[in-house]
């Protein structure tokens, strides 16, 4: 059992909602899409770079086909 499990909050019923600070929520909502955009944008950019590398360095040099 960890120290976190022994805290008073560990025995709180799950049904009780967290006390949400509206200002903190608004702040999180303001910055979250930016982080998601950077993460997803980086992932897609890597995917596109991989596609272009295979297309230009492998596919095209292998010659025409049809």
């Amino acid at each position: 059992m960890t120290a976190a499990d022994q805290s008073p909050d560990a025995h709180r019923p799950l049904e009780i909602a967290d006390q949400i600070d509206e200002a903190a929520l608004a702040e999180v909502m303001r910055v979250t899409p930016l982080g998601a955009g950077v993460l997803a944008g980086t992932a897609v950019a890597l995917l596109v770079l991989g596609y272009l590398a295979i297309y230009l360095l492998v596919f095209l040099p292998r010659g025409p086909v049809g």
């Binding site: 509206e22 200002a23 608004a26 909502m29 303001r30 899409p33 930016l34 998601a36 955009g37 997803a40 944008g41 897609v44 596109v48 596609y51 297309y55 596919f59 095209l60 292998r62 010659g63 025409p64 086909v65 049809g66």
Partner: protein, 185 residues
């Protein structure tokens, strides 16, 4: 706290999602444009020949009779190689082709579904009984290329392969009958 800040944030999220959707739309359009551009300028397309042939009689007469198999150069200079893919070999086992010239490869199968690729090239097709598989291509390097069957066709599948011998154009000399065979090495 009023609902107004929440509405503003939701609008920002919506704006971000619309921007993302626009970016994805641009990427999809760019990818499709690359495919179309390549097809129009580099002549790279998926082989899509639909031509029927009777698999029960293809070896008896016509285009895929034994004396017609292999590489031929037509009167117009077109190079065509005709190959039968059968359990568990390609006939002929070696196909001579020139480098730097357009080549048409035609395949037929009398028994089961086969497939093939030629290493180092974009040639890759299935050979389905009842149809002629046709691929247009151009070989660029003078070397022997492996052409294995890549569709499991039975117990001898792993032994089913042929060689594509790419020759320099000055050594690719058809005989009086227009046929070209692999050079002995």
């Amino acid at each position: 706290m009023t609902d107004r800040p929440v509405e503003i944030h939701e609008q920002r999220i919506l704006g971000t999602e619309l921007l993302w959707a626009l970016g994805v739309g641009v990427l999809v359009a760019a990818t499709l444009s690359v495919i179309v551009f390549t097809a129009l300028t580099r002549d790279i397309n998926p082989p899509s020949n639909v031509e029927r042939i009777d698999p029960k009689t293809l070896h008896l007469s016509g285009e895929f009779a034994e004396h017609n198999l292999g590489t031929t150069v037509g009167p117009d200079g077109r190079v065509t190689a005709r190959i039968i893919a059968t359990q568990f070999m390609f006939v002929p086992r070696c196909i001579a082709v020139p480098s730097g010239r357009a080549v048409t490869l035609r395949f037929a199968s009398p028994d089961v579904i086969h497939g093939l690729l030629i290493t180092g090239t974009n040639v890759n097709t299935m050979v389905v009984p009842g149809f002629v598989a046709q691929v247009h291509t151009e070989f660029t390097r003078n070397e022997d290329l492996l052409m294995p069957c890549h569709e499991y066709c039975g117990l001898g599948h792993s032994e089913m392969w042929a060689t594509v011998q790419v020759m320099p154009d000055d050594r690719f000399k058809p005989g009086p009958d227009g046929r070209v065979s692999c050079a002995q090495r």
